[in-house]
């Protein structure tokens, strides 16, 4: 990572920027980019809540350089790789140089004794704790050890003096792929182990690089963790369902679907709902921020969303190519519009993000009940899956009663 290469001589970022010759104009430009990210969703509805670039700039400039401990437990390093891909402006790097990342296995110089000493020292100071990876608690922690200690011990030691904890990626949020059925190592998320501190869940497998770095920058800017949804995810990146920000939404509303991959609909960028898109049940800013410096994103490259920002998506959203039940508005624009306004109203009213789901018309059929294959819609408990042949063959245009789910209550958990 570039930012660790930086030196930091001045007491504050403002002085440091001046010292290193960064133009304030460029810095402000970066800050308005940050503001855009923070405000990606709500700003559209409630622009007075958007954070002004100037405010961000002033706050950032007054910061001192905080210590970061960045753990990688039972995981694949994909989240670190995603962070490495974040952004691309010089000023962004400067801002990231706010941090002194004193333990980070993937990039740090020292191994063995030197690394363990660095960790011990950093743990004793107040620090921001970033965690990638799950904690396998089965069989006394034998499934992941670092420096001779179990992942659970490593996490507990690092959490003690942490001023903020960022669980970055599906594994640290809920256990990730290895926690999927039958979870052979009893993998757990950070929140299952650390109960006495607030945890920001930066969800995704991996999360978008810019979302990872912006979560840190948010903390530095505001001096507090971002506002979270009921799943502990920062609203600035997880307040919108992919379905609602999807550029292909108009095709959904118009009943224009990809029926098979590489068909004429696919070449025209039609909606991927029928080939299994989980966008209607997935909260993420993928369509807004996109991936790898706005190059593309999963749906943009023709593949249905697999819902990787939702808990237990490897169990709840599989088979991945199965059509989601319970998504209303098929081919009926008036209904879709109504749904859209319902969601909008709910958000403006400050009701929890999941509350808007009550507005959705449910369409799972009786045959679904007969099949009884579990699949979660909206990330909130079990629903029943329609017959696959029906899903790939005909449009789900026969709305019938669906089982009631907890999410329909619609209470805010804030």
């Amino acid at each position: 990572m570039t930012y660790q290469m930086d030196g930091w001589q001045s007491p504050t970022l403002g002085e440091e920027l001046a010292r290193t010759g960064v133009k304030r104009r460029d810095f402000l430009k970066y800050c308005s980019w940050l503001a855009g990210i923070f405000a990606a969703g709500p700003a559209l509805l409630n622009s007075d809540k958007a954070v002004a670039a100037e405010v961000i700039a002033e706050t950032l400039e007054s910061q001192e350089k905080p210590v970061v401990v960045w753990l990688q437990l039972q995981e694949c390093t994909g989240c670190v790789e995603s962070a490495l891909r974040s952004g691309g402006t010089t000023v962004e790097e400067v801002v990231l140089r706010l941090l002194s990342v004193e333990y980070q296995e993937a990039v740090m110089w020292a191994s063995g004794d030197g690394a363990n000493a660095a960790l011990k020292e950093a743990n004793e100071k107040p620090h921001i704790l970033v965690v990638n990876g799950s904690i396998p608690v089965g069989d006394d922690g034998i499934y992941c050890t670092i420096g001779g200690e179990s992942a659970e011990t490593v996490l507990r030691d690092a959490a003690k003096n942490a001023v903020a904890i960022l669980a970055v990626g599906a594994c640290s949020v809920w256990g990730g792929v290895q926690a999927s059925y039958p979870n052979p190592t009893s993998a757990r998320g950070v929140g299952d182990i650390i109960k006495d501190k607030p945890i920001v869940n930066v969800a995704g497998c991996p999360p978008i690089g810019e979302v990872i770095t912006a979560t840190v920058a948010y903390y530095l800017t505001h001096g507090t963790i971002p506002k979270l949804d009921a799943e502990g995810r920062p609203l600035f990146a997880y307040d919108q369902r992919i379905h609602d920000s999807c550029p292909r939404r108009a095709h959904f509303d118009a009943g224009q679907y990809v029926r098979y991959f590489d068909d004429e609909g696919a070449r025209n960028g039609w909606c991927l709902y029928e080939v299994g898109c989980k966008g209607p049940s997935t909260f993420s800013a993928c369509p807004i921020i996109q991936w790898n410096m706005h190059t593309s994103w999963p749906i943009g490259a023709g593949h249905p969303c697999i819902g990787c920002t939702e808990k237990e998506f490897f169990d709840k959203f599989t088979p991945f190519y199965q059509t989601l039940p319970n998504v209303g508005g098929l081919g009926i624009e008036a209904t879709a519009e109504k749904v859209g306004w319902g969601l909008l109203g709910a958000t403006v009213a400050g009701v929890g993000v999941h509350a808007g789901l009550t507005a959705i018309r449910h369409a799972a059929g009786k045959r679904a009940a007969e099949k009884a294959e579990p699949l979660a819609a909206f990330g909130d408990g079990k629903v029943l899956l329609p017959d696959p042949k029906r899903a790939t063959g005909k449009a789900a245009d026969e709305p019938e009663a669906a089982p009631k789910r907890a999410a329909e209550a619609g209470e805010s958990e804030e």
Partner: protein, 592 residues
């Protein structure tokens, strides 16, 4: 004699612990133990699932060599169900594999391996102009070699060192006598470290264009989900082709102009490392990096520009043999599994192991002799102990090397023209023999040489092939005829070999009534990081450290020499751990 533990080995993927014994500044012969300390059981989790979903699960084996497990998975499933993948989908996958491999090699060299040879703190003593001049003398044509840039980087490093907040250099090896680069070379290297970050961030967009995101792009059994159509705005068209073409140009520019001269210069300064770190002299490769073969490589058609899968024994470049998948066996002698049939080698096709958590030592483990005196245990307390989650694959009964060096060795022995050209160039530039490539420096050099070959391949062959076919009207990227599981045989199985950044990767799948019943991966780092077998043969990592009793280790608390050698394999530990099914019986990979 002193028992030494290096845990964690940092700047790798995943969790690796090395135990060794040293005396008089060297590691004692046969006294190194490679210990994988993470297990996830991903293939267990695949039991009973839709084979078309498997790529998304196994793709998460690794986020560094991201894409490669997914491609191995879809290729194996396609082999099983008889899917006829369109040529253009295969072309796209090859573009993605080559781009991924180059990105992976660059990250490895600059961000994982370089700090074993570069002391960034020494850069503050450098004259920035001398760094520019140094770059010129080593043949670097990189656009970042300017006085302005070198000065800025020097100021950055200076500020860091003087601030006392060392960030990722905390606990590092500043001033360690094993670091030999002059200050101007260190400054240049730090500048290129930063440039390489920018580079990888930019060029990885090649993968994003087709896969929608990176890490963990999306794939599809039967082809690709990204449509290609010159006449549609929502498909990949000339707009994306122009961008990809530009990023490929950037890639070749960086790899040839920056990475190659840097790597040659560093291994030139540390030339003694061509005589350190020799590992198993046997090598397997099933083609150039980016080669994906469904089914048995023995019977596969050889792609244009590629070489025939092969095996080289005892570094004998004149005697390459054909690769035979039936000669792969895995041992659990040193791994925490137990075979019902005793301590024997088992073919992946008939794999069978009971994991035995009861025999795994409980953490915390001893990190030093003092710890041991207070009752904590090392993982190998005695020669009889099992000490790792990583099994030990053997080819024809022998430990083998896989990876960039193995591909160059086998390709060289097969007479592949581009490989011969760059290997001969490197050998004559450095004044070393081909046999010396089996070494710590040789593996680092091979990785770089291969990046150059792949970048040229991507620019001159793979991408033009894709574009030419598109111009010819070939826009088909998906075989829908085998999408519905009802079109599959009630029982079918398949496998695939893919050459990826770290070496030869194979996935094996057995399907019954549309669901996965068995899934197995034989992974590059498993080949390399596995431990001892029943014959007492040590694994390739262990061999590289303790093969001859001469590997240096001057200061056990700062084991720079060990890191140089272990990093030369580019360890990926999350890939290496093995397979269990839900009942704790190792998955059997069945081949039709």
């Amino acid at each position: 004699m002193a028992k030494i533990v290096v845990d964690p080995i940092t700047r790798i993927e995943g969790h690796l612990r090395i135990e060794l014994e040293s005396e008089g500044g060297v590691i004692l012969k046969d006294k190194a133990w490679s210990e994988t300390t993470q297990f996830r059981g991903l293939e267990t989790i695949l039991q009973g699932r839709d084979p078309r979903d498997a790529w998304a699960f196994v793709g998460r084996i690794c986020g560094v060599c991201t894409s490669v497990h997914a491609i191995a998975s879809i290729t194996a499933v396609e082999n099983a169900i008889g899917s006829n993948v369109p040529t253009q989908a295969k072309n796209i996958r090859q573009i993605m594999l080559e781009a991924q491999e180059i990105q992976d090699h660059v990250i490895h060299f600059y961000h994982l391996h370089a700090l074993d040879f570069v002391d960034p703190a020494s850069a503050i003593e450098a004259d920035p102009q001398a760094a520019v001049d140094f770059a010129k003398t080593i043949g670097s044509t990189w656009k970042g070699n300017t006085l302005e840039r070198m000065t800025a980087v020097k100021d950055t490093v200076k500020a860091l060192v003087e601030s006392g907040q060392l960030s990722i250099f905390s606990g590092g090896y500043i001033g360690h006598p094993a670091y030999k680069l002059p200050p101007e070379a260190n400054l240049m290297a730090v500048a290129h470290y930063l440039d390489a970050l920018e580079f990888q961030r930019s060029m990885i967009r090649i993968v994003t264009t087709f896969g929608g995101k990176n890490p963990h792009p999306n794939f599809l059994v039967g082809g690709m989900a990204c449509t290609i159509d010159p006449e549609h705005s929502e498909s990949i068209n000339q707009v994306q082709l122009d961008q990809v073409s530009k990023w490929i140009d950037e890639t070749l520019e960086f790899v040839e102009g920056c990475y190659l001269p840097d790597a040659l210069a560093i291994v030139g300064v540390y030339k003694e490392y061509f005589d350190i770190g020799a590992s198993s002299p046997n090598f397997i490769a099933t083609g150039l990096s980016g080669t994906a073969i469904g089914g048995n490589p023995k019977d596969a058609a050889i792609g244009e520009n590629n070489f025939k899968p092969g095996v080289v024994y005892d570094m004998n470049l004149g005697g390459v043999e054909d690769f035979d998948a039936d000669l792969v066996e895995e041992w659990a002698t040193s791994a925490w599994y137990t075979y019902a049939g005793g301590d024997v080698g088992v073919k992946p096709l008939a794999g069978e192991t009971v994991p035995t958590p009861a025999i795994v030592p409980r953490p915390p483990y001893a990190m030093s002799e003092e710890d041991a005196a207070s009752g904590k245990k090392f993982l190998n307390e005695s020669e009889q102990d099992k000490y790792t989650w990583c099994k030990a694959p053997r080819y024809n009964g022998k430990p083998v090397q896989v990876g960039p060096l193995a591909r160059l060795i086998v390709g060289y022995a097969r007479g592949h023209a581009e490989i011969k050209e760059i290997v001969d160039y490197a050998l004559s530039t450095l004044g070393i023999t081909a046999a010396q490539l089996n070494s710590t420096a040789g593996r680092a050099l091979a990785r770089c040489a291969e990046s150059v070959i792949s970048a040229r391949e991507l620019k001159n062959y793979t991408f033009p092939k894709f574009v030419a076919a598109l111009q010819g009207g070939d826009i088909d990227v998906f075989d829908a005829s085998k999408w519905d599981p009802e079109t599959w045989a009630a029982q079918c199985s398949g496998y695939a070999f893919v050459e990826v950044a770290r070496g030869n990767l194979s996935h094996w799948v057995n399907i019954e009534n549309g669901k996965i019943t068995n899934y197995q991966c034989v992974v590059p780092t498993t080949w390399l990081a596995g431990g001892r077998d029943a014959q007492g043969q040590i694994g390739p990592y262990e061999h590289s450290l303790a093969g001859d009793g001469k590997h240096p280790l001057v200061d056990p608390t700062k084991p720079v020499e060990v890191l140089r050698t272990i990093h030369s394999f580019d360890p990926c530990m999350s890939c290496a751990v093995h397979v269990l099914d839900a009942d704790g019986v190792e998955v059997q990979a069945v081949v039709s």
